[in-house]
Symmetry: C2
Amino acid sequence: MYLNMMLTKARTSLIKSLKLKKIRIQEELFVIEGAKNVIELLKSNFLLHSLYATTTFLDANRKLVKSLNAEIFTATDTQLAAAGNFRTNNSVIALAKIKENKPLSAGAGEFALILDDIRDPGNLGTIIRVCDWYGISKMIASTSCVDLYNPKVIAATMGSFTRVNLFYTNLKAFMENKNGPYYGAFLDGDNIHTIKFKSRGYIVIGNESTGISREISALTDYRITIPGTGHMESLNAGIATAVVLDNLYRTKRDKRHCPPSRL
Amino acid sequence: MYLNMMLTKARTSLIKSLKLKKIRIQEELFVIEGAKNVIELLKSNFLLHSLYATTTFLDANRKLVKSLNAEIFTATDTQLAAAGNFRTNNSVIALAKIKENKPLSAGAGEFALILDDIRDPGNLGTIIRVCDWYGISKMIASTSCVDLYNPKVIAATMGSFTRVNLFYTNLKAFMENKNGPYYGAFLDGDNIHTIKFKSRGYIVIGNESTGISREISALTDYRITIPGTGHMESLNAGIATAVVLDNLYRTKRDKRHCPPSRL
């Protein structure tokens, strides 16, 4: 059973302060908001620090909550909305321990995603969600990318942050030291509808405004492009990732390297 | 040459008031912000009402501005940021006349997009941008969809609102009276990687949370699905639209019904 402590002012301040990366690093904690995201968190291997929830949420998730080894506070939805970042995700907030930044690379028969300077939290969250959809579980991000533990990133993942791992590193050094092939998404590359992807490698997605940087571009092996009518200059980074991964998923499935789709 | 009027308080109030749909309908005007969107507007067949810009913007776009038949006001970026909705789009704001809600339907060898209850302005804007990319120029939206002329929708289109037309109507009546086929995006349909699209028809995209409504679902001819690993319940509506249209574009190109891609 859970302790029935009420949300305190000190805890409200702690939750609010974790909006700042500096405080997140110092406390080694991050905020997860809303029923969908928190339930995924509770089922994952993230280490829960504390839970702040309405009695309605606690009652509805009694089984899940019962087994938790963390402080649990009850709060009203108004209190939760005031403490959190999203007015609509107000039935539950969790604090969990930030994971160590562990090195990742694409294994045999596997593709990983590389992000060069993705700045928008909503975009990173969407990209993580898209990776989860297509079964990409490893992402390598430049240190200039937005922080995974930013509350807006976590919210936009809709729980996928629990299944997709992200490694922040110096991309140039990473790409120089690891075997590719590296497929970079450009505006002047080969048509992704006709390209034959290798059985393992990396997809590289660039910055929202400027695309893949010159330095990283020089290290890519293949330039790939999403065909279109040419009226628009570019697609949003999340959209581009989804379309590229859909094409990769199709070719990987054709080669039977991937588990069959659930259809 | 343009008149060098300064932005007045009355005009600032007018711009601000157009955030409300009620006022937009009353004034038959909408707001376009930021250089990219406004330049696309000036090149389009939308009727310009007035322009509010920094002298830097006016100087840089002298040729385009010279030929305009509308009132032009100069303003500082601070004034423009205060009048507009986006702090970063502060070099120019335009007001233009709302277009008549004209009936649209898919012509021979053409696909149109149907939107059932899309509520989020960012999603509608992204969907319009994606349609533009894949050469879909007609959209039919349920009257419950968010208003095209909402400033957040216009901003998210990145100028594509000038090339994609949208018709708001009673979807049920529309679908009962027009020939399909209607391809609805569902979670339990046929795999879009293997489906053979007809040469004309409609793609139906549903609400962000609840998908395609039961009423509209009953009128679809084919249920189509984006394959994935099955960890996630769904993809964002903008992402789903992009992936479906990419698959449609591929099959249409294979049949040579579409102009070849620019690659």
